[in-house]
Amino acid sequence: MNKSKNETDISGIIFNAIVQSEENPLILNDSEKVELANQITEICVKFAFKKNRDKFRKEIGKVIAHYAEKYEAR
């Protein structure tokens, strides 16, 4: 399930951290976990250097809200 084995590739690091986390509050299967990790990683890397954080908050907020609505919490 690891996207990257490189310990210093930032996309791989974010992806792995989300996928491998045992504290994920949502009940997700492996492919759902990968999908969530991919979406979050993409947004985090895309907005890494943006000083204005409004767009990031809006986009990440949408992803989180979607998952909160669709999936059960532990």
Binding site: E7, I10, I13, E23, K46
Partner: protein, 691 residues
């Protein structure tokens, strides 16, 4: 990203269109560009930056401050052809402007993640005769695999490939190496440098996101609380929460302001260190002067002590010293007396023997003389009578002589006593002191002369400036220290307030009617909190791993570039990104040599670039004005051997020599070019170097 070709038109010193074809079928990724100063090497790098970001910055140091400006495309000075007072020169080629050719463009074709990109940025005049920069319109064009990208998406596309903030790690020039190495080794790593390092390592993706997850969680919490307001019992709790929120906001503002002040002080300390580096002789002279003055003071104290001790010794034995001439006189007198006494004693002995002989002769006739051993003949009566008379006289003379000898007393004993008295005077201490005084006086004279010389040197150096800077640096460090304490206290207050808020909020009662919305908000908050914790943990692990990776790669680079790798264990980087070099036995080595510093900075750049995993060509514009030829050659080998990314080294005659480099590394290079001035004017002419 791999550049396939680059085309410049009327950019800087490049009049007309010039092409650099980077494509090659050899698979080699090393490139070299040779050219003396001012022939267009840096302009080439600037053209790439302009094509990517639409701006080129230049800086100058005026009256001790560094000023940075964006370079215009044209300047009003161009109309008068007077650039005597300009340092941010326009980008449009001067000759092109003169010849009314106002078009400037840079085109880059490159391959990135399997797609072919074509980026063109062009500047055109809006008027027939442009006189100011606003008369020029700049338009970027980008196509990916032949599809045109809309204008507003061009910069985000480029930022995704190579963010402008980290471009300095790929377009490396002498000033950035110098400022980086100076800050890195001054022991006061600037916040700016650390920020840049963390940027290239991608940490903002974790750090900024984490902060936004915190914001998201707090936002959900407030939404939850707003639902809870329906319950009357919650109102007083909410008022309390409002008060705590205001307090937290105010503390956070304070923390932010203090942080800015700390950064300001850190930046100023860095600037001062750089300024101080420019006055090494003054600093050194001040240090020497301080040491010489300390030495002078020590010598003066020794001299003073020696004088005091000598005076004390002299006064204690003064009577002995005063008697010295008398003792000498007495000594020679006694010596003379002793000689006279010995002479008289000898005469007396002879006289007594003669008297004894005469007595025997008188009494017995012939007798053996005790003096001469002769046996005299028997004497007549008359002769005996005459001898008897002589004997009486001689006996009397002997008695007189004895009396006379007795009058001499005992000069031999007196002489011995006098000698022992004279020797009893302890002169050795005074002599040692005299010696010390004489040596100290000489040393003092030398030291005073040295101080005079240093003062002459100091008159030449800008001592006042150095002292001012040192005093300012101390003040900045102290102020920063107290600001840090202030920030710590504020952070503690913030944690306390947040904790208080959580406790207070836990007393709120939920309105049962709002359950579905509340469930969603609670779930969203849980996800935000989970992401906050996950990113927080990941950030600390990643920071450590990235640092270890940079350390390892910088060590590899350092050992491959240094002429004596056996002397070193490697490069060590601490949590604040301060760097040191370790000797083979693990001791930290001072890196005072500017060439070493620049080499080390290049190694760190290399480590950062590789650790970041970013695929982008790297341009080294004269890396290391102070680096020796041997190290430069090793550096070229390090970069050009087995590289997966394009590495372009630009060098003038003082750096990598064309012939030597081509002889040594020609077979590793994909392409090499030589830049020169055309025979007619000072515009760049490009020629590919044939291997």
């Amino acid at each position: 990203m791999n550049i396939q070709n680059l085309e410049l038109t009327n950019f800087g010193s490049y009049r007309g269109t010039h092409k650099f074809d980077f494509s090659t079928s050899t698979g080699r990724m090393g490139y070299a560009i040779f050219g003396e100063i001012g022939r267009g090497k840096t302009t080439l790098i600037n053209s790439l930056l302009w094509a990517l970001y639409g701006e080129v910055e230049t800086s100058v140091e005026l009256e001790g401050r560094i000023y940075t400006k964006k370079r215009p495309i044209i300047d009003s000075a161009q109309t008068q052809n007077d650039f005597s007072k300009k340092w941010n020169l326009p980008l449009l080629n001067f000759a092109a402007y003169e010849e009314k050719d106002y078009t400037m463009s840079v085109s880059i074709k490159f391959e990135h993640k399997g797609s072919t990109f074509h980026l063109l940025r062009e500047a055109k005049s809006r008027t027939p005769r442009p006189r100011k920069n606003s008369d020029i319109a700049v338009q970027p064009h980008l196509s990916i695999d032949g599809r045109t990208v809309s204008a507003q998406l061009i910069q985000p596309e480029i930022e995704e490939i190579i963010p402008q903030k980290i471009s300095k790690f790929f377009f490396v020039e002498v000033d950035s190496i110098k400022s980086y190495s100076a800050l890195l080794f001054a022991g006061e790593s600037s916040g700016g440098i650390v920020e840049d390092i963390e940027a290239i390592l991608g940490m903002p993706a974790l750090e900024h996101s984490k902060n936004d997850f915190v914001w998201l969680s707090e936002y959900q919490q407030k939404s939850i609380e707003s639902i809870q307001t329906t319950d009357k019992r919650n109102k007083s709790i909410l008022r309390t929460l409002e008060g705590i929120d205001k307090r937290i906001a105010s503390i956070r503002t304070d923390i932010g302001l203090i942080g800015k002040d700390i950064d300001k002080q850190t930046k100023r300390i860095g600037e001062i260190d750089l300024e101080l580096e420019e006055h090494p002789s003054a600093e050194e002279q001040l240090d020497r002067l301080k040491r010489a003055k300390e030495n002078k003071s020590r010598l003066e104290t020794t001299l003073k002590d020696s004088y005091v001790r000598r005076r004390s010794l002299i006064s204690k034995d003064a009577w002995k010293i005063l008697l010295q001439p008398k003792i000498s006189h007495l000594s020679s007198h006694y010596s003379e007396l002793r000689k006279k006494k010995e002479l008289k004693s000898k005469t007396l002995t002879e006289l007594e023997l003669s008297c004894n002989h005469a007595e025997i002769e008188i009494n017995k006739g012939g007798a053996e003389c005790k003096v001469c051993g002769n046996i005299s003949e028997g004497l007549s009566k008359k002769e005996r009578e005459a001898k008897a008379d002589d004997l009486i006289t001689n006996r009397q003379i002997a008695v007189d002589l004895k009396a006379e000898i007795e009058l001499f007393g005992t000069p031999e004993h007196d002489l011995v006593s006098l000698s022992s008295f004279r020797d009893s005077r302890d002169s050795s201490q005074i002599e040692t002191l005299e010696d010390l005084v004489s040596r100290t006086t000489m040393d003092l004279f030398d030291t005073k002369e040295k101080i005079k010389l240093i003062n002459v040197e100091l008159e030449k150096a800008d001592v006042l400036k150095v002292r001012e800077l040192q005093a300012e640096k101390i003040a900045c460090i102290e102020l920063r220290g107290s600001l840090k304490d202030e920030r710590k206290a504020a952070s503690r207050a913030e944690s306390d307030a947040v904790e208080e808020r959580v406790k207070t909020a836990s007393n709120l009662k939920t309105d049962e009617t709002a359950t579905p919305a509340m469930t969603k908000l609670t779930k969203t908050k849980k996800i935000a909190d989970w992401l906050t914790n996950t990113f927080d943990k990941t950030l600390s692990t990643y920071k450590k791993n990235a640092r270890i990776s940079v350390e390892k790669l910088a060590t590899e680079a350092w050992l491959s570039m240094t002429p004596e790798p056996e002397k070193y264990r490697g490069v060590k980087i601490n949590e604040r990104w301060q760097t040191e070099v370790l000797s083979s036995n693990g001791k930290s080595l001072p890196i005072g040599n500017p060439g070493h510093r620049q080499t080390l900075a290049v190694c760190i750049f290399d480590g950062l670039r590789k650790t970041s995993g970013r695929k982008f060509p790297t341009f080294y514009d004269n890396p290391g004005s102070n680096i020796s030829d041997v190290v430069l050659q090793k550096m070229a080998k390090h970069f050009w051997d087995n590289t997966d990314d394009q590495i372009v080294m630009l060098s003038h005659g003082g750096g990598l020599k064309k012939q030597n480099t081509m002889d040594l590394y020609g077979n590793k290079l994909a392409k090499a070019w030589e830049l020169s001035y055309s025979s007619e004017n000072t515009t760049t002419s490009v020629k590919e170097v044939i291997q």
